[in-house]
Amino acid sequence: MKSFGSIRRNFAPWKDPAAKPYIEFRNVTKIFGDFTAVDNLSLNIYEREFFALLGASGCGKSTLLRMLAGFEEPTSGAILLDGQDLRGIPPYRRPVNMMFQSYALFPHMTVEANIAFGLKQDGMPKPDIEARVKEMLKLVRLEQFAKRKPHQLSGGQRQRVALARSVAKRPKVLLLDEPLGALDKKLREATQFELMDLQQDLGLTFVVVTHDQEEAMTMADRIAIMDKGQVMQVATPAEVYEAPSSRFVADFVGNVNMLEGEVASRDENRVVITGASGAQITVEHSGDVQPGTHVAFAIRPEKIKVSSKQPVGTGANAMQGEVWDLAYLGDMTVYHIKLDDGQVVKASSLNSARIHDDPLTWSDRAWISFTPDAGVVLTR
């Protein structure tokens, strides 16, 4: 069986029809005044899943998270957690905890007291609280900072305190609102992996909101791409990247070339698409598209091969053009090839060899080619 990309681990409850979703959004709508933040959205999240809500600001992803935490009530629809309808349950009685984007550490309390706060609210006996706080401090490697106040910590340390505080109560679900947004790039990358390890170790369900696709791709088991209060696609990172379901998703995640055209003919698993200039490409597609339908063929730059000579081989689509622009990035080179029909196509090639015999340069004639399964046909 073919599959996309690498598989992180043997975990895919969403594929199992018998699996019961842990968090269910059922036709949830949230309207603020005359703005519809979340629009009739349905979504299932499974136990122990690392789930990411990805979208531009204003797409409704934070509202979704806040509804789960109980800070907002849906205008209509229902949210279920482990089969229980959450409507009317105030935030302080929900078995979920949230890590805030601003961290929201209590400035008048020490690190220790911040972490103990939630445990105290539950009336946990004092020795137990102390033990748990110690354990949490150890988990985030802040033992020697227990007596400090939040303003005496660096950004990364604050982030870890916020994390420790939100997992101290062992919530069923941890909500993370842009958890790495305030960190610099290096720290962010390191912390991504820490979060993944933590999720594995504690066996919690994580729902993370982010606008950073790299972050979502790295950490999540599945990603929901959101736009205008709706979910555009829910899939694993590899599926989202390699098999986007719409032009929006293809364009939102990573770089893409969108070749627009009309379906000329189709057989069982291939379609022929005629571009605006009349050039034809043959690609794999098993879905149902009638000849004459307007479609887009979405192909990632790294799936396009650039060469100075006409490529040989069967089944490859090839088009000629000239090098319009190129950028040498060290590990790879990005070409902008202006095809003879005027369309500019981005192609990137890995510089796996140090020395090229015949490097392409500006204004050179060049061929681009790709295999029939290198991209996807999009109707939406």
Partner: protein, 272 residues
């Protein structure tokens, strides 16, 4: 040029400060005058301070003023904080605009009008005038100052702190007492101090709403001055000035120290 004082700057500085402080300096100097005549220097003496402490009327007035100031500042702080919370938090209740306007109206209301209207009210409802009515009146006008101070702090308050507290299982009441209140406490303390000072030096409203046996210090001083300024009055005023100065300086030093400590802490945090 920047950072250096030009001649013009120096002159304006000198004149400005002279304008502000010369009268006060004169008052302080003449409080140590040995002569009974206020405007004639008769040598250094502290006799007026001694006689001050045997002036039972003045001491009574000071005690009344102090009690009124403490009680009214405390009540005004509670009410003003509640008003500020209502105004910043429940932004969608009906009549909010009217309410916020009405809370702040006394800020610009002429004191004479506030005093007169309160007097009319107290007479109308048959409330005997005395310390109680003065305290009520002071609560009325200083509450809005507290509300302004606390409201400005609440506007910059990060609401996610409260959400975090509730998310961690704290009920709204516990959230208020364990998170909101400690965080806005500095503003509440400044509000209290402001209300306290306002009450301490109020003459107009106190004159309208006071009754027998409830003469405040400003009222006593004013009535004595009408019979002629005595060096004793200078001495009282000097003591008042000293009291206020010490208060202001202490607050400033405490603040400054806290700032410095904070800066050091932040530096330490950045170094790791």
């Amino acid at each position: 040029m920047q950072g250096k004082l030009s001649r013009f700057n120096i002159v304006s500085l000198v004149f400005g400060f002279a304008f502000l402080y010369l009268p006060i300096v004169l008052l302080v100097i003449y409080s140590f005058n040995a002569s009974r005549l206020v405007t004639v220097w008769g040598g250094f003496s502290t006799r007026w301070y001694v006689s001050l402490f045997s002036n039972q009327q003045l001491i009574d007035a000071a005690w009344v003023t102090f009690r009124i100031a403490v009680i009214s500042a405390t009540v005004a702080t509670v009410l003003g904080t509640m008003a500020a919370l209502a105004l910043t938090r429940y932004t969608r209740f009906r009549g909010r605009f009217l309410f916020s306007g009405m809370v702040f109206a006394p800020l610009v209301m002429p004191e004479v009008i506030t005093g007169l209207s309160l007097l009319l009210l107290f007479v109308a409802i048959g409330l005997d005038r005395g310390m109680f009515t003065v305290t009520l009146a002071h609560v009325t006008f200083s509450m809005c100052f507290v509300a302004v101070v606390v409201q400005s702090r609440l506007l910059s308050f990060d609401r996610s702190l409260e959400e975090a507290a509730m998310d961690l299982g704290a009920t709204p009441t516990r959230t208020f007492f364990h998170v909101t209140l400690p965080v806005i406490m500095p503003a509440i303390v400044s509000g209290w101090m402001l209300a306290f000072t306002l009450s301490l030096d109020d003459l107009v409203i106190a004159s309208f709403t006071s009754g027998p046996g409830a003469t405040t210090l400003p009222m006593r001083i004013y009535s004595q001055v009408r019979l002629g300024v005595t060096p004793e009055i200078n001495a009282v005023c000097t003591l008042l000035i000293a009291f206020v100065t010490v208060g202001v300086l202490t607050a400033a030093i405490v603040n400054k120290r806290r700032d410095l400590q904070r800066q050091r802490d932040e530096h330490a945090a950045l170094r790791g």
